[in-house]
Subunit: 216 residues, 2 copies
């Protein structure tokens, strides 16, 4: 079988839909932030809530069952638009735009605002773990050694301030189906959190030496 | 100095405001879910986005600088309404309602929907870490041994399905300023993810043997 050549009109529509979906989620992220930080009068909060409920009803007029999962575009690109860290559609995701490098490295520069707080003014320790888990998985996949996370260990060297941050992970060692990845988050002053992840290629995916693109 | 007796009218207002804030964030969570899952026409997505932008502007008419931090009610209760896991105001948070038990245990039953997805149909591995970090910190604090997370290790035994889940952490050992906490997440079939956290009481908090209530 041969791959069907891409229909340019379909690709164009997909890109436009991508932009519309991205814009909708971006506005929703601003709403999440404003809901936390707003100090307007209580009556206005009640009024805004009623409007949100109406928007929810309009969006729910037609919706998929369950979660987004992973869809494939015509060109075979995996799209995890619902993903909690990188999902274009997901307002819980910052979202991270991750650059993967073929030697087995993944990095991202991103901004974390009020919605990611743990201790006052600091990134929630678990949010650091969440982001490092995603970066570690993408580093493993970038280097041709994807897998499910077996173990993730996160070491907190100091508090990570909310604001502009960078995260980076890289393959440290590949041993058969087991890949060890290391990485860290940093602010302008240096490393704040370190991570080590062990990724295991699942048994069901060990077919003919082929490896799926990524799992997470 | 004596504590000022609580003014009943102030407490009532605070409880009402609490409900209004909680309802606003709850509706925003539904919006986050609907934005991911909606399959309405593109023009409707664009129209809904324009309405969201107007609501953001209304909420931003007056807002606090930066993140929520931690506020104290008149009665001295710590309120982390912006917290990424438990924050009443925070639509990124599921939110968890955590029960703390004085022997050093913390647990919660909760539901994770489409916004917390990693692999298709499964909870993002990093979201499991995020929730276990919060539960572990609260277990340490519940047992009178609060601290900042030093290390968090998360072991993934199998995929955690999106849906109804339970998480639980407990103090395993206290050694001076260092507290070891263990815990897990589970679905109806049993444990899916295990965690071990080391919490360290920061130097600045080691005053006269007193311990602050909690840090996270």
């Amino acid at each position: 079988m041969f791959d069907t050549p891409e229909d340019p009109s379909e690709v164009e529509e997909s890109e436009r839909e991508h932009a519309v979906r991205g814009d909708l989620a971006a506005s929703t992220r601003l709403l999440v932030d404003a809901v936390i930080r707003s100090t307007v009068a209580e009556a206005e909060l009640v009024a805004v809530r009623a409007e949100i409920d109406q928007l929810v009803a309009r969006l729910q007029a037609s919706q998929m069952d369950g979660s987004y999962g992973v869809n494939r575009s015509g060109s075979g690109t995996v799209r995890a638009q619902g993903n909690a860290v990188i999902g274009l559609r997901n307002a819980v995701a910052p979202p991270l735009v991750i650059t993967q490098e073929p030697e087995g490295r993944a990095w991202a520069e991103f901004h974390l605002g009020a919605a990611y707080e743990g201790p006052p003014g600091l990134v929630h320790g678990g949010v650091s773990a969440l982001i490092l888990d995603q970066l570690a998985g993408e580093a493993a996949a970038a280097g041709g050694s994807p897998g499910m996370t077996g173990t993730l260990t996160v070491r907190y060297r100091r508090g990570t301030p909310l604001g502009d941050l960078r995260g980076e992970c890289w393959i440290e060692k590949v041993d058969g189906v087991k890949t060890t990845v290391k990485g860290h988050l940093q602010d302008a002053e240096g490393v704040t959190v370190e991570a080590e992840g062990i990724f295991i290629l699942p048994r069901w995916a060990r077919v003919d030496g082929e490896r799926p693109e990524r799992f997470e």
